[in-house]
Amino acid sequence: MGVMGEAHRWVMGGYQVVMGEAISKLQPPEAVVMSKGKDEATPVLCPLLNISSCPITESAPSFITTVYNPVARPVTHYVRLPVSEDAAFKRALLLLTIEGWEIAFQWVPSYAGIPGNEVADSAARMVLTDVNTTPFPLPLSAAKCLISRVCRSTWNNMLGDTLRITSMGQYRSDSSPQPWIRKKSRVLDVTLTRLRLGHTTLTLTCIASVCPLTPTAFVLQSQLLALNVTTFDLPTLLAAAGVPPSRQHAVIRLTCAFLRKTGNAVKTQLVPIPKPVLATPGRKSSATFELVFPAADIPPLGLLRFYIQRTHNRRFLRQQMSKVQSRQLGGETPIILATENLTLVVDPHTGLLKMVGAVHPGAINMIPVSQNFFVYAGMSGNNSKEDFRASGAYIFRPNGSEAAKVSDKVEVVTIEGPLVYEVQQQWGPWVSQVLRAYMGRTNLEMEWLVGPIPVEDGVGREVVSRVDWADLTTGNTFYTDSNGREMLKRVKDYRPTWNLKNQEPVAGNYYPVNSRLILDNGTLFKAAILTDRSQGGSSLQPGQMELMVHRRLLHDDAFGVGEALNETQFGEGLVARGKHFLLHSTFADRNCDFGCLHRSLGEELLLPPLYLFEETTASVHAWKESAVNKWSGLGRSLPNNVHLLTLEPWGDNRLLLRLEHMYATGESQPHSNPATVSLKGLLADWEIVDVEEMILSANLKKKDENRLNWKVKESGKPVSQSKPHSRSDNSVHQEDPSTKEDPLSITLSAMEIRTFILTVKKSSTRF
C-alpha cells in the first residue's frame, strides 16, 4: 500500500495527468466553433435502451458514449449498450475507456496558465483521490498485460503522428514545481509515456535493443539518437527529459498508480439479451448482446466520455463473452452465483429465487427469500351499484379469488462473467425477468418484462410481483414512501383515525409506492424493495412484499373516463419492462447501514446517469485531441447525506440551488445527523457573490415568509414542536448572535430542504 500512498500524495501535489492536450488545442475558439459545428454528429439519446435497442451502438464501427452523472457525488455505474451479434462475433468489441486512455497516454508536463487544464486537473483529482481506498484487483503483471493488449491495436497508428511533432507546442510553461518538467522534446515524452505504460513493443528492454527492432521502435531510436540520447535506460531517459534525480523515483512510482487505474478500466462483458426481450412487440433492433462496462467514478455533476470501437480481435471477444448456461430443472444442486458482495441462490426445482446472501468477514449470511409473479383476475361489472363495481383505470378490485401463480416453474439461463451475474427467468410467453448481481454492488436487481397480458378469455388481469422473506416476521406492518421522500407506517386492515371495516381485503390494503416499500420489525433484520416508477403495493402476509407491475382490464369503472384500461400497442396487449431492486439489512456494512443502502440507491435510481451517443469517424487519437472527456461542475462532492435537488440557471448570473437532507431521523447512523455544506468553492467555475434563501417554491424570500399560525388540540401523543427546524421565526436567529450563520455555510437537519438563489460570477482563477 505504500506505493499507492506515494502516488496519492504525488497527485495531490499538483502535477496532473489529464486531457490537457485536447483543451489547449481549443484555441482559437472561433475556429473551433466553425470547424466543429459542421460535420460532427450531435449526441443523441437512445430512448429504447430499456428494450436493448439503440441504432448507433448496434451498427456504428466506432462511436462515443457520454455518460453524465447528475448526482452530486461520484457514482460508479454499469453501462449496458446493445450490440449486434454480427459485430460481437465477427469483430469483437474493444472498449477504450476514458480512464484507460487518459491515464495511459496523456500528460501535461506543464499546465500553469493554460485555460482549462486546471479545471481538468480538479476533475482528475477527484478520480484519483480514491486510489488509496480501491483495492487493486489484479497483480501488477496482469494489469500490464491487459493494458498492453488494449493499447496495441491503436498505439502504433498514433505513434507515427506523435513522433512527427518535435516542437514543444505552444503551451509550454514550466513555472510550477513538478517532478517531471517536459523540457527536451516530444520524442522523449513519448518514450517516457510508453515506458510508464509498460508498452510491450517498446519497453525499456526493447529500446535497449534486446528485442527485434520494429519499425516504430527503430524510428524512435533514431530520433532519440538525434537528440544525443544513446543509453536507453530509464534513469537516462528521465534525466534527458529534465526530471531531476530527486524526482525520478516519484515518476517511476507513478507508473504503478497509472497501471491500477488503467487495469480497472478496461473490463467489459458481453451478455446475451434474453429471448423474451428480443421478441418484444415493435422492437426493431439487430442487437442480441449487451456490452457491459463500468463507468467508474463519474464525477459529480460531471461526465465521462468513452470511445468505443469494434476490432477484429478474437481474443478480446473470448474474454468478453459471458459464460451462458441453460439450466435443466430438477437437479439437487442449487444454482449459486456469488459476487464479492452478494450471493444469489436459485431453487434447482423451480428456477425461482431461493436465497440471497452477503459475505461478511468470516461468514456468508444467507437469507431465505422467494419471489414469484401472481395474477389477480379483475372484477367485471356494470357499476350500477357498489357491489357491481368493476376493476378499471381508477379502481382495483380483484374478483375475490386468490391471486394465482403465473407458473410454478420457470426456465432459467444463467450468465456469468467478470462484471455481472444474471439469472434470466422465463415464466411462459408473457412474463419474464432477469435477476442481476453486479460486482461491487449490494443490491439484487430484478428487471421484469410483463405482457401482452392475455385477456382472450374475457378476464382482465392484474399482475403482481411478490417477494416473501420467510424469516422476517413483520406482523401486519409495513412502510411505504410518501412521494419518494418520508416513509409512512401502514398496518393491514387498519386506519389510524377511524374504524375501518374493510370489505376489499386486497385493494383496501394497497398504498402508493413511488420509490420503495420497506419491511422492518424493529430488529436489525429489515428488507426493502425499490421501484423505478410509481406502483401500487402492499404487504398482505407477514414478511411479504407485493407490487403491482401491470394491469389490463376489459371494463370501465364508471368514474368518468369511459374506457376500459386495455392498453395495446403493435396490435397486441402492451408490454411493460421495469426494475425492482431488493435490499436486505445483511447487505449493509460498517460504512453503509440499511438506511444508507436504500437512501443512496434511491437517489441513484431517481437520477441515473444519462447516456448520449454519437457516431464518429475520428480515430481515437483525433478524438482525444479534440474532446473534453472528463468534467465536473462541482469543485467537490456534497456530503453523503445531502442530495442536490436543484441547480438551475435562474436569470442574469443567478442560479437556483436546492439542497436536501435525504435521511429521516433515526434512519441511518450517522447519515441522519445534521449536515453542513459550505457553498464556498462548491461550484467548480463559479464564485458565489450573494446568497438569498428562498422558500421552497423560490417565489418568496425566506425572511419574508409569514404563514398563518394555528392553534391545535394536543392528541394522545406529543405534538411535534421541534422549533429548531422551523425557520419561520426569523427574529430568533437575528437576536442570538451565536446562531448567526455564515451565509455560505448551510446546515441541514434530517429531511430538510433549503432553497437558495445564488448570484455568481466566473471564478477569476480560470482566466
Partner: protein, 483 residues
Amino acid sequence: MEGRTDRLEMASSTHPRWLLALLVVVIAVRSTSQANPSCHPAKEGMLNIHLVCHTHDDVGWLKTVDQYYYGSRTGTQNAGVQYILDSVVDALQKDPARKFIYVESAFFFRWWDQQTQPTKDIVKRLVASGQLEFIGGGWCMNDEGTTHYNAIIDQMTLGLIKLNETFGEAARPTVAWQIDPFGHSREQASIFAQMGFDGLFFGRLDHDDKNTRWANRTMEMVWQASQDLGDAAWLFTGVLPNTYSPPKGFCFDILCSDDPIMDDPRLHDYNVDERVDSFLKAAEEESQGYASQHIIMTMGEDFLYQNANAWYKNLDKLIRYVNKRQESGSKVNVMYSTPSCYLSALHDSNLTWPTKADDFFPYASGNHSYWTGYFTSRPTLKGYVRQTNGILQSIITGFHFLSLTLAYPSLLLQAVKQVVSLLGMGRTSNLEAMVQAMGVLQHHDAVSGTEKQHVADDYSERLAGGTTAAMGLMGEALRLSGG
C-alpha cells in the same frame, strides 16, 4: 363529472357546535392580521357562507390539454378553457363584488399569451383588486398518489414563478387547492407548507373517514405533515363539503339543468322563496359538519363558466335574496369569497383545531371502490414520466448549467455569446417545452393513468417532443463547448 362526484350522505351530528379542547397548544399568533382587504366582511353571530366561484380544468383527461384549451371535440366533452377565461374576465368587470379563482397555470398562460395588452391590463387590475385570485398556481393540479416529490416541486415552481413574474409577489397563491386528486399524500402537504401556503383544501377522502369527520366536525384540521420538519410542515387542511360541486340544485351553469332564480313576481314560475328556502336548508345541513361559523360552498365543476354570466347573474340574486332574509331574522349571511378569504375567516375565528399525522390513502368512494388501481395504471407512461424526470434534471444541471461553465474558460467573448444565446442564461427558457411537458404530466389524470387512450398518447408525444427539443440544444452545447 357526475360519476366522479360522490355526494355526501349528510350525517346528523349530536356533537356541540363549538368543541372546546381540554389541552391546547398555542402557537404564536401572527401579530398583524393579513386579511385581504378585498374579502367581503363576515357578519358576527351569523353563519357566513363563502361562495367560491371556480372551474375545475383538467390539464387533459377525456380530451388533450390543447383540445380542452380551445374547446375542440365538443362531442367528447363540452369544455373550452379559452371561453371560460374570456367570459369570467367580462363578468368580473361588471361588478366589483364578484370574485373568481383560477388554479391551473398551464391553461392560464396558454390564454394569457394570446391576450392583447388592454386585456392584460384589465386582468392585472382584477388580480390587484382581489376579484381574480390565483389559488394553487402550479402548472397543474398534480396527482398525489403516483408523483415524485422532485416533479411536484418542479411543476409547482414552474407555475408559481410565472405568476410571480407576471403579477408580482402580491398575487402569490397562499392556498393550495387539490379538489380532485384521488387521495392525498402527506408529502404533498409538507411541500405546500414549505412553499409558503397557509392552507389546503381538497375534495376526496375515504367515505367512512368523511362520515366520521362530518359527525365529529373534524372536516378541518392541522396536518402535521412531516416527522422531522416540525411546524415548518404544518398545514391547515380542509375537506370540502361536496367534493368540489355546488350544493344540489345550485349549479347555474349553462351546462347544468338547475333552475335559474326567477324573481319577477309578474312572470310565471317565480321561485325566489323556494330557492332561498332550499339554499338555507343546504347551508344548515352543511354547517353540521364544520366547526366554525363559516362554511364554504364550491360554486363550480369541471370546465364550467364558459358562460360566466349565467352563474353571476343568478348568484348576484341568490346573495341578494338570501341576505334580505336577515331583515326577517335569518342568521345566514352569504357572500362572494375565495379560499383565502375563507381561510382567513377561519383563522380569525381563533378556534383550536384537531391534528392529522398520517395521510389520506387509500381513497375509497364506496365499500368496493378503492381507488388503488391507478397507482399502477399505464405502467409504461409512469415509467416514462419518471425516466424523463431524470433526463430533465441531467439536462438542467449537466448541459444547461455545465455547458455554460464549459464554454467560459476556453472560448472568447464571441463564442460565449453564441453559447449563452443558444442555451439562454435565463431560467430554462430554451428547455420550456420539456419543463412544461413534465408539468402537464404530473396532472391527476396524466401520470395517474386515468385518461383516455388518445390523451395518454398525446402525453407521451409531449414528453418525447420536449425531450427532443432539449436534446437538440444539449448536443449543440456539447459541440460548442468542445465536446
